[in-house]
Symmetry: C2
Subunit: 340 residues, 2 copies
């Protein structure tokens, strides 16, 4: 276990992306997001995704040069075609455009079709909240889990994000529709541990907390059983309808995985034009305080609001360096041409 | 077990509401919703809620005469104060107003503060989809479950609704944030059965599928453990911020239960002005077909999209009468002045 300073990781990842064909400015933007996600502890969509993103650039599955192209404008709604450009750049464009529309109209809605993996969904919630906006965003994905009652993959994990700005720390939800990610299953299996709660079915249809049999069956559990399954179906349908884009079943036909061809929705409100900044803060504080004031189920354990832990991990890793897996870091150094 | 024809139930419930102080027209509107919910199999917010709604009218906790009053208009967003009027009437007003705004602008957003229980959330999704609109709606509620990691109630079950219109049958999600409702716990306990999956913690903090110990501890499980807890927190915060209304912690201070003083959000899109009716139908059909085409986990069992079962129950009970619990029906007959 090594700790790498934020700026060092940022520079290395930037170099890796430049070597894969991105221009310096775009590479820096994407590298900053991967580094920030790692700094926040979300390695699955940070450092651990650098190699796969480079691979997709090299295959041409992500088009480093594509820019979002306008498809339709309808009042406060704008639809763009992502042209299979880098998902982070497309999603930044959409978030920023939605904020600009919201600044003028109270609400802005931007949808993206034919885009690629946006990496960590929470990125766009934190970005909007940092500028004082309320955000609701989601993406569909290729299928990775069965519908409730089925046993072959039919649903994406379709991450869903909600964010409310708050001076003492934004309240941010970043929630995929599977109870656990395949990344979590893998990490748990490699440690020889069990999942804290059942995460799927084995090949015989028994609910299990053992990660290995779930990875084999691909019968990963929707969050909340039938509920996460239903929510995933609606998020998928709405994303495709509102972006005039592809639903999961068509993304599966493309068959490139990793959200290639996905549809995304960005709904942004400006609370300064509604109850105002102080009112928003009062509401958000009262919610956070109420949660924090819970009687803990285990003595001495805090009860936290969504986003609270992130701020602590971020502060620690900003100050002391970002903990990395040595193998993953070595691979990224190699992609950046820094080995030896 | 008795079956009551739709129109008979509708007339009886109308009479009960008129006797409780509503005018004929409002009573008919509310009675139709309670009857439709029962017809769709959602008794918890249909026939089984008639007595409590009557009680709230009689106590003056629901003001039969209140009408939604405009608070603010900001482009396609409108905020109304529900004045503690009947939740169904307020939510119908909000849904219809959001559809009218969406018909002109592609999207319409109406929020309600100081309203009361909207009964079955799905009502407003089905209503919008019946008129060809896409809808996203939610409400906050008084607290009924602990935050993840806590053991006293701090979160509402905050039902969340999404609907997409489809000629062959709308796709509709109606999802509360607890894994099971207290109603489901009660019904399961009375049958002497266990829940199909763990539904909460007993007083010693052990996860259990036995309904009784969960009812006692009030440690009902959020759907998907920490995920449903986080989602409930964000739905609450956004509902209060966007309606300039009350979050759960303030609703708890009112202390009247049953969503008295709650905040609601209605976001409606007109897909006819986006990809068009045929495109929306194609997307929705492809999603429904993909789900229906799953390999079933149990031989001979269908894998269904959200809303599919509802249509079958509805068709059966419309044709053959609505199955009622004899005790509940007798109570409603009495409230309608029909006993003996």
């Amino acid at each position: 276990m090594t700790r790498i300073p934020f700026e060092s990781m940022y520079e290395v990842v930037t170099d890796a992306f430049v070597r894969a064909g991105m221009n310096q400015s775009d590479a820096e933007t994407c590298a900053r997001v991967h580094t920030e996600s790692s700094c926040d502890g979300v390695y699955s969509h940070g450092l651990n995704r650098v190699a796969r993103f480079v691979d997709y650039l090299q295959r041409g599955w992500v088009d480093a040069k594509a820019k979002p192209a306008p498809v339709k404008k309808l009042g406060v709604i704008e639809i763009y075609d992502g042209g299979y450009g880098p998902g982070i750049l497309n999603a930044f464009f959409a978030t920023d455009r939605a904020m600009a529309i919201a600044a003028e109209n109270g609400v802005g809605i931007v949808t993206l079709r034919n885009t690629t993996h946006w990496m960590r969904g929470g990125t766009y919630g934190w970005r909007a909240a940092d500028k004082g906006f309320v955000a609701i965003s989601w993406t569909n994905t290729e299928s990775c889990m069965p519908s409730w009652g089925g046993k072959n993959p039919r649903l994406g994990n379709n991450p869903f994000v909600m964010a409310v700005p708050r001076k003492k720390g934004h309240i941010v939800l970043d929630m995929a529709m599977s109870q656990y990610s395949y990344g979590k299953l893998q990490v748990t299996r490699l440690k020889g541990e069990k999942l804290p709660y059942p995460g799927g079915f084995d090949k015989d249809g028994n609910l299990t907390s053992e990660p290995g049999p779930i990875e084999q069956s691909m019968r990963i559990l929707p969050t909340g059983y039938w509920k996460g399954s239903a929510f995933a179906i609606l998020l998928d349908t709405l994303a495709a309808v509102l972006s005039e884009g592809l639903p999961t079943n068509r993304i599966d036909q493309i068959g490139r995985g990793s959200c290639t061809g996905c549809s995304q929705v960005f709904i942004v409100f400006d609370p300064r034009q509604l109850g105002g900044e102080d009112f928003t803060d009062q509401v958000a504080d009262s919610v956070a305080d109420y949660v924090n004031g819970s009687v803990p189920a285990e003595d001495g354990r805090e009860v936290r609001y969504p986003g609270q832990s992130t701020l602590r991990i971020r502060a620690d890793q900003r100050a002391n360096g970002i903990i990395v897996d040595d193998g993953v870091w070595a691979e990224v150094l190699k992609l950046a041409g820094r080995e030896g």
